[in-house]
Structures are given as structure tokens and as C-alpha cells.
Amino acid sequence: MKPRRFNMRSLILNTGSSLLLPLLVLFSLFLLLRGHDEPGGGFIGGLVAAAAVALKLFAEDYKAARDMLRVHPLQLVGIGLVLAAVASLPPLFVGESFFTAQWWSLDLPIFGELKLSTPLLFDIGVFLGVIGTVLTVVFTLAEAEHS
């Protein structure tokens, strides 16, 4: 039996994905950033972003998705872990205990107040970790199929 290929190259999917992709990536960032107040957050945003890249994989092929991501997904996992772990450290420098949230407020000329915090940094770490993990699994499976 010849192995069936999953890549059917549907025109509709192909066209649709090129429109959807930027939107999905933006949406994932939107979810990540608004997560503290509204439904969303790093985990959900990460899943959306990973799904976006996976969409590329299905619409075109493994190589296109790999090229779009540029880095190896395992590197994203590593970066995410480092960010999340680093977010636990700042309180130690101001004499508070490990992982206590720190908030800084910046006044930007046009946009108004910008609130930065260690939970945000942590959430970005989660975001990258989730993208990396899901895509590692997806890519690995796709690659195994590909070869």
C-alpha cells in the first residue's frame, strides 16, 4: 500500500490560510496581552499561535511552516522556560520573596499609561513555551511523515 499523503493542496484552504494567518498571529498576541483582565492569556494565546502555524503546515507543507517559524520550536521552548524562570527573580532584589509580582508603570506620550509586570513576562514565557511544545510535536510528526 502506498502511504497516503495528507497534503491535498486544497486551493480554498491555501488562499484562506494566507489571509487568516496574519490575523491569527495578531489575535494570539491580542489574547496574550489582554489576558490579565479579559479572557485570554499566555496559554490560550500560545495555542492559537501554534494552531496558526499548523494551519500553514496543512495548507502548504512542512517546509513552508518551518521556514515561516525560522527558529526550531524547541528553541522557543527553551526561551519560554528562561523567561518564565527569570520572571521569578526580580522580587529577590527588592527584598520580597520569590515570585512576588512586581509592577512598573510607564507613561508613554501617545498611548498613555503602560503597565509592565513580572506576571506579563511570565505569561510571555508561558506563551512561547506552549507554542514551542505544540509545534515541536506537530513538526516532529509531520517530519516523520515527510521523510
Binding site: P3, R4, R5, F6, G35, H36, D37, E38, P39, G40, G41, G42, F43, I44, L47, V48, A50, A51, A54, F58, P73, L74, V77, G78, G80, L81, A84, A85, A87, S88, F99, A101, W103, K115, S117, P119, L120, F122, D123, G125, V126, G129, V130, G132, T133, V134, T136, V137, V138, T140, L141, A142, E143, A144, E145, S147
Partner: protein, 803 residues
């Protein structure tokens, strides 16, 4: 003080680079550290010899009451000076000895690390930090013994040493914790002088556990076998481990704890009994061995046994004898091991029977070897003599069993003289024997260590007050628990110990004359070794691996279905039992306030689950599972858990994607299981579902404590600066949990990546591969056929020829 101990580890980190920098003389370069440490410790001599003890404390885990505290009194100072002093020579010596070894840089790392750990052990005042350093010596000595890691033998022996000392280490830790509990402090300086330890209920277990730790480390019978096996290490390591460090750690511990734990009948019995046994075993085996390092190693076992025995006696004389003997032994054993290394290095001699008459070609080495051996034999005027006299005196004045102990000591002494005679005479005097290498005196880096140590042995013997005034009295005082008034002297007059000494000297020399015959006579040991402790150890290790293999094969059978059955079955039994026993099942289910859309979703869920089980196509099953998941997500949304709902939707989406990717790798949908299996699976699945349902109903019905969600709801704004409670919990309140989960995710990613890549690496079955394999097999077959044909022809021709 902290810097002094840590400097060894710090230097160890840079040793490979320094080694490259220093080239041929890197050993000398690195030896500067122990030299300066020696000077540092020596500067404490005046204070300590007046009976003061110095304490240094640094906070380590203040929350747990563990501090890094150091105690310098006579005993620890004696050890520290030995460790750094001999360490200086060993580094210089090792640098030259292993000059051409490709891993010399690594050797320095381990040796310096070991030195730092040893210093930590003898200087620690806190039991916990002592234990940490103790285990560090185990690990670093493992690295050192297995230094020639390309040889299987070295690996095996390093492993043996590690297993035995780690086992003892575990016991020791338990003992230490008990000791800390009993004394109410982990500081040795407090523990040793607290009253009532020996009457405490935990005294016996803690004593036995600590003794197990000390005995394994110091190679007391029946654990003595790992020590001679540790000779697989390069000779500089043996010299270091045996003279002043590793194996003495156990003895140090006993000496250190003597004021607190000693003096009881159990202590006396255990230590003198095992000590005397070890002493006799060690020296007996030494007298039979012929390998240079083996003989020395067994005589180290003897020395360790002697020290243990003396510490067991616990009298003033015994304490002084112990520290004197310890110093004497460190000096001559360090020197002799380094001489053994020279023999190997310069003449290729590893066995006493291979050598003779080397005094002509290696005169300087001969002088050193003879000097050190005389001290080993305990001949006047060397320092070994002082130690031996004190030993005999201590044994003679023992309160219990002094006759038995004296006889044992005299027998041991006779054999020590024999061993010393072998070492002092056999390779150097007599007829010249051809050696594998052309013998020559080594250069200064190799010779200076043994020369200085042997000379010190002579110097301290002639002028015992040098050693005595400074340090030994203080050290013996620390062992004894109060200052002692004794003094060392070379000449005690003609008395019983001297007579015993003399007679054992004569008998030992006589025995040397008939050494070959003695070895023949004791040949029965060959058969005895077959049931010795080493065999027991090996059986145990083998049994352990066999058990592990059996257990792994049984539990890890590789069938996902079996894992599931085991896991779910356990859950059903354990949780079900608890539910039935603890909770009278009171379920208040009311369908009153159910709304239409909820019923619809429930129906949808049940149907999709049923269909997923029944359909006969993978794709359909996946789709149905997806529907199930989305239904659950809907439920979340209806119960206003929007975040969870979104997550569920996304996870379902990605799960379906993954399944689609995997589906193509699965075989065609086939019916593989029998009906009986299916019924069994259905029962397990049904019971699990039922159990989970009941469990959730019980839990929601039986909430007794106020939930924590109220706190989160109230505080997410003020404390977390966020209105989305779920997210605030994830990234703030419970951030540590989330961090752990992200790590788990990373592990999963690496796991999947590794598994698939290893698999695809192992199974590259393409058509060209198959063809290649086929061709290979065919060519082999052809070749076999051709061979058979040729053979048949040859035999036919032969038979024709006969006709």
C-alpha cells in the same frame, strides 16, 4: 576559613586551563594552593596547641537551622595539615607521574575537589555540612578510582567502592539526624559536650548507623575488600586516599564523636571487636599478597583496624596512641605508596616477586623506601616505634579483654614486620632481577614527596616533642574529650611493650626468611575467598539487577492497553474502596433546574461518545472525540468559565490536528481484540466512568471547608492587578505551579522529539534499503553455496587421490 575550603573547589574548576598553561610543571603550579593552605592552618598551631579551639560560622540555610560552621581543634587541625601537606606532594607527584596521560587536567579537577571535600569533612562543625562533604569525598573518590575509565576493571572497582560507601553514607545520614534530634543541635561543638546522649532512647540505633557509615568508609571487616580494589586508581591517588584522607574519614568521625558517644559498653565492644578483626584480616592478607600496591593496601586496612580498636578502648593512652599512630601511618604510608609508584614508573615493577637488587640503579629511592619501611615496622628510632610502643601500652592497660587484644596486636605486629621486611628488602637488595623498564632514580617531583615524608618520620622519632608539643596532645585531647597530660618519648625504658616489640621483630624477620613457605602454608585462603564478603557483595549486586530486570519486564511490558488496565484498575479499586468505606453514598441529584440547552449538550456528549466507540474508521472516531470535546467546551461556557472553555476548544482543535498527523502512520483499522477482551475493556471503562461520576457528585455534595475561590475572586483585583481571575491565578497566585507545568510541557516536547527521531533513525525502511538488505543476504547465500561447493570438490578430489 570558608575561602580556605572553597578555594580547592574553585581551583578545581580552573585546573584544566591552568594545566594547559603550566604544561609540564602544572602539578607544581597547582600545588601552590595546598602549600598556602598548609601555611594558613599552621598559623593556627600556636593557639590550638594551647588547647583552644577556633570556630567559624556562616549562615547557609538559616531557615532550616543549617549553618556552614567550622571547628578547628587539635584533631581537625592535625587532619587539615595532613591533607594539605601530603596533598602538596601528591599534586606535584601526580603531575609528573601522569605527565603523558591525556586526562591529566581532569585528574587535577578530581584531586582538588577531593581535597576540598576532605577538608570540609574534618573541619565541619555542623553535622549536615559534614555529611555533605562526606558524600562529596565519596563522589570525587569514585571519579579518582575510576580515573582510567576506559578499563572495565577500573570502572567496576570504582563502582564497588561507591556502592559500599554510599550505602554507609545513607546509614550515616540517618544516624546523624537521630543524633541531632537527641542532642537538640546539629553543631558538633554542642553535641559532644551535651550530657545524657548515651542514655538516650535513640542511642543504640544512632550508634549502629553511624558506625556502619564509619566502618564502610574506613574499610573495616567485613567491608574491607573495597579498599584494595580501589588500587585500580592511579598510584598518586592511592597514596593520597590511603595515607591521610578518604579511608581515614571514618576513623576521623569515630575520633570526633568519641567524647559524645564513646565510653559505653556497646561502643567498646563494637570498636575493639571490629577493629581487632580488621587489623588481623588486613595484615594477614597483606602478608600473603605479592603485588606492591596490594601489600600496601592491605596493610592500610590493618592500620585502620588498629585505629578503630584504639578509639574503642577510649583511655587517655589509647587516645594518644591513636593520634600518634595516625600521624606515623600517614607519613610512612604516603611515602611507601609514592615509592610504589616510582617502582612502577621507573622500573615497570608492579609485583615484589619481579624485582631485586634495584639498590644499584635506584639508590636514592632505596634509602627512602627503607626509611619508610623501618617506620612501618616500628623500629627505633623512627616515629613508627613511638606509635607502636603506645599502641602496646594502650592495649596492655585496657580494662577489658586486655589479654586477647594484646595477643591480637602482637600477632599483627609480627606480620607487620614481615610486610615491612618485604617492602624494605625484596625489591632493593639481593640478586639483580631484570625489570620491564631500565630502572633509574626518578626526578625531583616524584622523589621529593616520599623523601620528605620519610625524613619527617625519622625526625619526629628522634625528637617526638616537636610533634607532641604542637599538635598531638591537643588532638588526643579532642579525642579524649578533655585535655591530657601525657607526653611522647622515644625511650620508655625496658618494659613489657618493648619486650613484646622486640620479640615480634625477631619472629617477623624469621617469617620473612620463609615468606614463600608462609604463602604456601596459607593457601587455604584461596578457597576461603570463594565465600568471602566480596562474593556476597557481588551476589547481592547481581540479585539486585536481576530483580530489577524481572520487575521492569513485568511492569513495563510495552503494551499501552496493559498500562491503562493497571492504572484504571488501581484507581477503581483504591478510590472505590475508599468511597464505599468512608462515605455512605448519599447522592442528592435533582434534575429539577436543568435547562433545555444543558440537556441538549448532555445528549450530544453521550451520543458522540457512543459513536466514537462503535464506528469502524479512525477518522470517524477522531471526529466524534472532537465533537465530545467541543461539547464539553460548550458546557464550560454555559457555566461562565470562558477561559477554560476557550482553552478546551483550542486543545480539542490541536488534538484533532495531531491525531490526523498520526493517523497516517497507523495500520488499517482492524479488529484485533477478541470479544472477551472487549467485554473486559468495556467493564473497566464503564466502571471508571461510573466511579468518576460518583466521585465528583460526592465531592461537590460534601464540601466542608470554605473554598479558596472566594479569596481569589476578592483579591485578584487588589493584589493581582487583574480582572481575569483565571489568569491572575495562573500567572500570579499560583505562578510556581504554572512554572512547573511549563517545565512538564518542555519535557513532553523533548520526549516526543527524541522518541520519534530515534524511531525514524532506527527504522529507515525505504525500498532501496530493502533492496540492499536483500542483495546482502543473497550474496551471503551465494558465498555459502560456493564455499560448500568448493569443499565438496576438495573432498571429492581427496577421496579420488586416495583411490
Amino acid at each position: 576559613m570558608l575561602i580556605a575550603v572553597l578555594s580547592c573547589f574553585i581551583l578545581a574548576c580552573f585546573a584544566p586551563w591552568l594545566h594547559r598553561l603550566g604544561g609540564r610543571h602544572s602539578g607544581w603550579l597547582l600545588a601552590l594552593l595546598p602549600a598556602s593552605l598548609f601555611a594558613y592552618f599552621a598559623s593556627m598551631l600556636p593557639l590550638v596547641s594551647q588547647g583552644h579551639s577556633l570556630q567559624f560560622a556562616y549562615a547557609w540555610f538559616p531557615g532550616m537551622g543549617i549553618q556552614l560552621s567550622f571547628l578547628v581543634d587539635g584533631l581537625s587541625l592535625l587532619f587539615a595539615l595532613l591533607i594539605t601537606g601530603i596533598g602538596f606532594f601528591i599534586l606535584a607527584y601526580g603531575g609528573r607521574y601522569l605527565e603523558k596521560h591525556k586526562d591529566l587536567g581532569r585528574f587535577f579537577v578530581f584531586l582538588l575537589g577531593f581535597m576540598g571535600s576532605m577538608l570540609g569533612v574534618v573541619l565541619s562543625d555542623n553535622l549536615i555540612s559534614l555529611f555533605v562533604f562526606w558524600e562529596l569525598t565519596t563522589v570525587t573518590s569514585f571519579m579518582l578510582i575510576g580515573f582510567n575509565h576506559e578499563q572495565e576493571d577500573a570502572r567496576k572497582k570504582a563502582h564497588q567502592g561507591l556502592m559500599i560507601t554510599v550505602m554507609g553514607g545513607l546509614a550515616l545520614m540517618t544516624g546523624f539526624i537521630m543524633l541531632g534530634m537527641a542532642a537538640g543541635s546539629y553543631e558538633l561543638s554542642t553535641i559532644l559536650y551535651s550530657d545524657g546522649l548515651t542514655e538516650h532512647a535513640l542511642y543504640l540505633p544512632m550508634l549502629l548507623l553511624i558506625l556502619l557509615g564509619a566502618f564502610t568508609k574506613s574499610a573495616q571487616a567485613p567491608f574491607h575488600f573495597w579498599l584494595p580494589n580501589a588500587m585500580a586508581a592511579p598510584t598518586p591517588v592511592s597514596a593520597y586516599l590511603h595515607s591521610a584522607t578518604m579511608v581515614k574519614a571514618g576513623v576521623y568521625l569515630l575520633a570526633r564523636l568519641n567524647p559524645g558517644l564513646g565510653g559505653t559498653d556497646t561502643w567498646l565492644l563494637m570498636l575493639t571487636l571490629f577493629g581487632a578483626l580488621t587489623m588481623l584480616t588486613g595484615i594477614f592478607l597483606a602478608s600473603r599478597a605479592t603485588g606492591v600496591k596490594k601489600v600496601l593496601a592491605y596493610s592500610t586496612v590493618m592500620a585502620l583496624g588498629t585505629l578503630t580498636m584504639l578509639l574503642g578502648l577510649g583511655t587517655e593512652t589509647a587516645a594518644l596512641a591513636a593520634v600518634t599512630f595516625l600521624l606515623a601511618h600517614a607519613l610512612y604510608k604516603g611515602a611507601l605508596f609514592m615509592v610504589a609508584g616510582i617502582l612502577d614508573h621507573s622500573a615497570g615493577v608492579k609485583d615484589f616477586t619481579q624485582a631485586g637488587g634495584l639498590r644499584h640503579s635506584m639508590p636514592k629511592t632505596t634509602v627512602v623506601a627503607v626509611l619508610a619501611s623501618l617506620s612501618l615496622a616500628g623500629i627505633i628510632p623512627l616515629f613508627g616505634f613511638v606509635g607502636k610502643e603506645l599502641l602496646l601500652e594502650a592495649v596492655l592497660s585496657a580494662s577489658n579483654w586486655h589479654i586477647g587484644l594484646t595477643i591480637a596486636t602482637v600477632i599483627a605486629n609480627i606480620l607487620v614486620v614481615l610486610v615491612a621486611a618485604i617492602v624494605a628488602l625484596k625489591p632493593w637488595f639481593g640478586a639483580v632481577v631484570d625489570t620491564p623498564k631500565k630502572p633509574h632514580d626518578p626526578d625531583i617531583a616524584l622523589l621529593i614527596g616520599p623523601a620528605v615524608l620519610a625524613t619527617l618520620g625519622l625526625l619526629f622519632g628522634l625528637m617526638p616533642f616537636i610533634a607532641d608539643k604542637g599538635l598531638l596532645a591537643a588532638a588526643a585531647g579532642a579525642v579524649y574529650g578533655q585535655p591530657i597530660e601525657l607526653y611522647l618519648a622515644l625511650w620508655h625504658g625496658i618494659n613489657l611493650p618493648l619486650m613484646l616489640s622486640l620479640s615480634s621483630l625477631l619472629l617477623g624477620l624469621l617469617l620473612f626468611k620463609v615468606w614463600g613457605g608462609w604463602r604456601q602454608l596459607t593457601n587455604f585462603m584461596h578457597s576461603a575467598e570463594k565465600i568471602g564478603p566480596e562474593v556476597v557483595y557481588e551476589r547481592l549486586m547481581l540479585g539486585m539487577t536481576q530483580f530489577a530486570a524481572w520487575q521492569t519486564n513485568t511492569l513495563q511490558n510495552g503494551y499501552l492497553r496493559n498500562y491503562l488496565i493497571t492504572t484504571l484498575g488501581t484507581v477503581i479499586i483504591v478510590v472505590g474502596w475508599a468511597l464505599l468505606r468512608v462515605n455512605q453514598l448519599e447522592l442528592n441529584i435533582s434534575f429539577q433546574d436543568m435547562r433545555v440547552h444543558e440537556v441538549a449538550i448532555a445528549v450530544l456528549l453521550i451520543f458522540s461518545a457512543l459513536i466514537a466507540v462503535l464506528v469502524r474508521s479512525f477518522l470517524a472516531a477522531v471526529a466524534m472525540l472532537g465533537a465530545l470535546g467541543f461539547g464539553v467546551a460548550l458546557l464550560y461556557v454555559f457555566f461562565s468559565a470562558i477561559d477554560v472553555g476557550i482553552t478546551q476548544v483550542l486543545v480539542e482543535t490541536i488534538t484533532v490536528l495531531l491525531l490526523v498527523l498520526v493517523l497516517y502512520r497507523l495500520p488499517e483499522f482492524r479488529s484485533l481484540s477478541s470479544t472477551a477482551n472487549r467485554i473486559r475493556d468495556a467493564i473497566i471503562a464503564g466502571m471508571t466512568g461510573l466511579l468518576m461520576t460518583i466521585l465528583i457528585l460526592v465531592i461537590t455534595g460534601a464540601r466542608q471547608l470554605e473554598g479558596i475561590s472566594e479569596y481569589f475572586l476578592q483579591n485578584s483585583g487588589p493584589l493581582g492587578h487583574g480582572r481575569n481571575v483565571v489568569n491572575v491565578i495562573l500567572v500570579d497566585f499560583r505562578a510556581l505551579d504554572t512554572l512547573g507545568e511549563v517545565f512538564v510541557l518542555a519535557l513532553v516536547a523533548i520526549g516526543v522529539y527524541a522518541m520519534i527521531h530515534l524511531r525514524t533513525g532506527a527504522l529507515p525502511v525505504t525500498n532501496s534499503d530493502r533492496r540492499a538488505a536483500f542483495n546482502l543476504r543473497r550474496s551471503q547465500k551465494d558465498k555459502a553455496k560456493a564455499d560448500a561447493k568448493a569443499e565438496a570438490e576438495a573432498s571429492a578430489a581427496a577421496s579420488k587421490g586416495e583411490e
